[in-house]
Symmetry: C2
Subunit: 289 residues, 2 copies
């Protein structure tokens, strides 16, 4: 089964846990709307790639971990788009959940997706109960306090935000959890895999910053130039376009080098180099990362 199919199947299975008789129909509809159709599913693809590199037989369990991480990513987008934060009208080329369903249901959709992420882990680990706690620690650490997504977003509510902590928590934490959870699903110590996730998380952030600066709204499916408008940190504003591209190249190189010894290390390294090329803006010269 290819990674895309495995991830979409795992997410459909997750939503089916919620979509049972007696559930409020608009909530279920909003949860589906928030998860499908997805974006690039980068984080769960990373979870599967790490699990495959460590121990291919662990892919079914890793799919549950990947689905949990994607559900948490979707939940964070739903809450971030709400009027109390970004008040974003569009997401993935369609109205944001709070625009389509109203703010009250958007809040509950985010809450229900967070809970569903942990349900998916518990159900997915039914045959591998000894791996559940490590996967949970990886996943939970990425979304709560002190260093997860909620903490990252909360730095926007502080009088003196710590920008490094903000960026690491807001975008890096879930990538580090994606690699850590993939290793944990395979029964390997997850900590050694966090640097890969951290480098890639920063790389995707820089790639997003570049897109925010050079793409059109139609290409992205959401408004562009938002970082400059909202005064948010952005690698292009900080280093210029060429500087940001150099930084992106350095990060993906470090990511590939950080891969711990494992049976599939060479394949995973090749995959990351390929993905790195995809992240580069089209006008940038191709170069081995």
């Amino acid at each position: 089964m290819d990674a895309k199919t495995r991830i979409e199947d795992a997410l459909s299975g997750a939503l089916a846990l919620a979509d049972q008789p007696g559930a409020p129909p608009r909530l279920i509809s909003a949860m589906h709307y928030a998860v499908f159709p997805g974006g690039a599913r980068i984080r769960p693809r990373l979870t599967l790639a790490v699990a495959a590199a460590c121990h291919p037989a662990s892919l079914p369990l890793a799919a549950a971990a990947g689905a949990a991480i994607e559900l948490l990513h979707c939940a964070s987008l739903v809450h971030d788009d709400m009027p109390v934060f970004d008040n974003a009208a569009m997401r993935r080329g369609k109205p944001a959940v709070h625009k389509a369903y109203g703010a009250p249901l958007a809040l509950l959709t985010g809450d229900a997706l967070i809970v569903l992420a942990f349900q998916v882990l518990a159900v997915g680990a039914a045959k591998s109960p000894m791996r559940l706690a490590a996967m949970m620690r990886a996943v939970a650490g990425a979304v709560g306090a002190p260093h997860g997504i909620a903490a990252g977003q909360a730095w926007e509510c502080e009088p003196s935000p710590d920008l490094a902590a903000y960026q690491q928590a807001k975008t890096g934490a879930l990538f580090a959890a994606a690699t850590e959870a993939g290793a944990a699903a395979a029964g390997c110590p997850g900590a050694a895999w966090r640097p890969l996730g951290e480098y890639l998380g920063e790389a995707y952030q820089v790639a997003d910053d570049i897109k925010d600066a050079v793409c059109t709204e139609a290409e992205l499916g959401k408004p562009v130039g938002q970082d400059a408008a909202l005064g948010r940190p952005n690698a292009v504003l900080l280093h210029g376009l060429d500087g940001a591209i150099d930084h992106l190249r350095a990060l993906t190189g470090k990511a590939a080098e950080s891969i711990p010894a494992c049976p599939g290390a060479a394949d995973l390294r090749a995959l990351i180099r390929l993905e790195s090329q995809r992240l580069m803006p089209k006008e940038a010269p191709a170069q081995a990362a």
Copy 2:
């Protein structure tokens, strides 16, 4: 160790997981504010009582489950009080979190408390990993979709709400999870313990309805008469005060009778009869439940 100390210690330990260097200070402050000082801690007390009745050695693990359930209860109060829902100014005798910290941080505080609940379970089950999945299923089922708190609240966003599903999900689900998780922490099948939680959940709801009708704002620490004002279902509005008191007495009786066979069944039954007397309004005639 008495139950009150065990619960407050478990909650303090939970908050300590979040209150680490690098965490955004106002988020941590708001999380503390939402959890301390608490209400009656009814749900975690119930978790501990069930675990003690099943197998007293399981109390440390049950304390983690109880803390998780109380954190989820606090999270639901924080989100429910927000302007998009009840827009409640006061909670537990002090300004609600969104009044004290603003709506954005209230949203994140709820999110972070939901995640913390699952972190506490994972950390608490470190020595009993085989019991983690059952505790997680009990706890997660109580807060997400299809039948948990978020689903209950979501019925308020439906054009044709199912009132029975609304009440069961909004108040019964977390009580049923409290008894189920207590049994699961003790290594016992949790399903047999859900009726106890369901009867008690409904009993506390009826007792709250009675308080909403007969108490003053100063006695409750929050506005009274809210159900009538907001058109919410309320046992006193439905059955009259005497009818509601009779219903409460019947529910606590059924709760006591529902206790499955276990080493501490007699003690637990006595505890529930005592608690039942406490729930009765002072003017009601004392009567064996």
